[in-house]
């Protein structure tokens, strides 16, 4: 191959590589720009708005706790999220749900904790918006008391019924069957012919009685 042709091929190869790198960079940049653009309404993203402290304070009062950060903030957020119901899910907590609503709620808890609101203020804030439905542990008041003390009452009631029943059990039930009665039940046959035939077969197998008939007692 001539030197000129070789150089031409080399140049074209370098040009291709440069073009590939430029295209890859362009693609990466456009993807990043698209990710920035597609900040979804209602979904957690970098462009999240700051907490409206004035509004929160109007509902639950000024912050009563210490502003949290770092690992303590993450742990407390998780603890509170475990006790909040994800309103768009089927019975799962905000901590357990991967839904956008749950993520937003978790971020809201984080914002409230870093602003210094105490856990009970945070529960009050969510309750003010969603009602008690949002609390996975209902407050022990009103009809909710049934949930807290109902199982205990039912347990006591069951125990009382059991005690009363055992004390007043009819005597005949307590008495052991007499050997004669037991023996009679072993030798009796049902009225139904077909059933009696099967009972005999079972006796033959179980007791070894020939023909299923009880052996005659020696007088």
């Amino acid at each position: 191959m001539k030197r000129g042709t070789l150089q031409h091929y080399r140049r074209r190869r370098i040009l291709r590589i440069v073009l590939a790198i430029v295209s890859a960079l362009f693609l990466l940049l456009s993807l990043a720009a698209r990710a920035e653009e597609s900040c979804v309404a209602g979904e957690a993203c970098a462009e999240s708005r700051p907490l409206d402290r004035e509004f929160v304070t109007s509902l639950v009062g000024p912050p009563r706790g210490q502003p949290l950060e770092g690992a303590a903030l993450a742990q407390k957020t998780h603890e509170i999220a475990l006790r909040l119901r994800c309103p768009t899910c089927q019975g799962s907590s905000v901590a357990d749900s991967p839904s956008a609503t749950a993520l937003n709620m978790k971020r809201e808890v984080e914002d409230l904790l870093s602003a210094g609101y105490a856990p009970d203020q945070i529960f009050d804030y969510f309750e003010a918006a969603y009602g008690q439905f949002v609390l996975l542990e209902p407050k022990a008041e009103g009809l909710n008391l049934l949930v807290w003390i109902g199982p205990g009452i039912l347990l006591l009631l069951g125990a009382a019924i059991l005690v009363v029943y055992l004390r007043h059990r009819p005597e005949e039930e307590e008495a052991e069957p007499s050997p004669a009665a037991f023996s009679a039940s072993r030798t009796q046959l049902p009225d139904d012919e077909e059933l009696a035939r099967w009972v005999r077969k079972v006796r033959e197998i179980a007791y070894g009685w020939p023909g299923g008939e009880p052996p005659r007692e020696a007088s």
Binding site: A41, G42, P87, F126
Partner: protein, 183 residues
């Protein structure tokens, strides 16, 4: 063959059992036919949570506080929500009918701008569609499942909340309520 003697009915146990079972039955019977999701909003009767949100096309922010003195209808919706499509026409028509008297606002819930654009191009746009980035407004309003529509009086108080696709008659009745007209 001998039969086991019939057991006597223990009245104590019967009464005790009925005392436990009857209240539970009454509780369940009272809830039959009711929508378990139709929980009364704690916001009703209170000041509506404030918000200042930009329109989906990046327009100027619309603040609820600035609308004080005018009844407001706030509808939480999304393009992926089928019932929202059903009520969109009803809301758009009402927004035209009550223009100047009632302010209609749509707050988009968990959705993307290109989809919102396509939806409004197809079904028409009669009132501002606001972006609730981060979902703070939906949380403040206790939104549990869209569509949800809040009716806010001129003094900024939440007068009522409707869950599900609203139909024209219901919408008219609730607008009359926030306008102070009785029906």
């Amino acid at each position: 063959m001998e039969r086991a003697p019939a057991r006597k009915l223990n009245k104590g146990i019967l009464v005790g059992g009925l005392l436990v079972v009857l209240p539970l039955l009454l509780l369940f019977a009272g809830s039959f036919g009711k929508d378990p999701r139709a929980v009364r909003s704690p916001l009703v009767g209170r000041q509506a949570p404030p918000f200042s949100l930009r329109t989906y096309d990046g327009g100027e922010a619309i603040s609820l506080a600035r609308l004080r003195g005018k009844p407001v209808v706030v509808n939480f919706w999304a393009t992926w929500c089928e019932p929202c499509k059903a009520e969109h026409g009803v809301l758009t028509q009402a927004a035209q009918k009550y223009e100047g008297k009632v302010q209609f606002l749509g707050i988009v819930y968990e959705d993307e701008v290109p989809r919102i654009e396509a939806f409004l191009k197809r079904y028409g746009s009669g009132y501002p569609a606001l972006m609730d980035v981060g979902g703070k407004t939906a949380i403040a309003y206790g939104v549990t499942g869209i569509p949800e529509t809040f009716f806010i009086g001129p003094d900024g108080t939440v007068v009522s909340k409707f869950t599900g696709p609203i139909h024209a008659e219901e919408l008219e009745a609730r607008i009359a309520q926030i306008l102070g007209e009785t029906r």
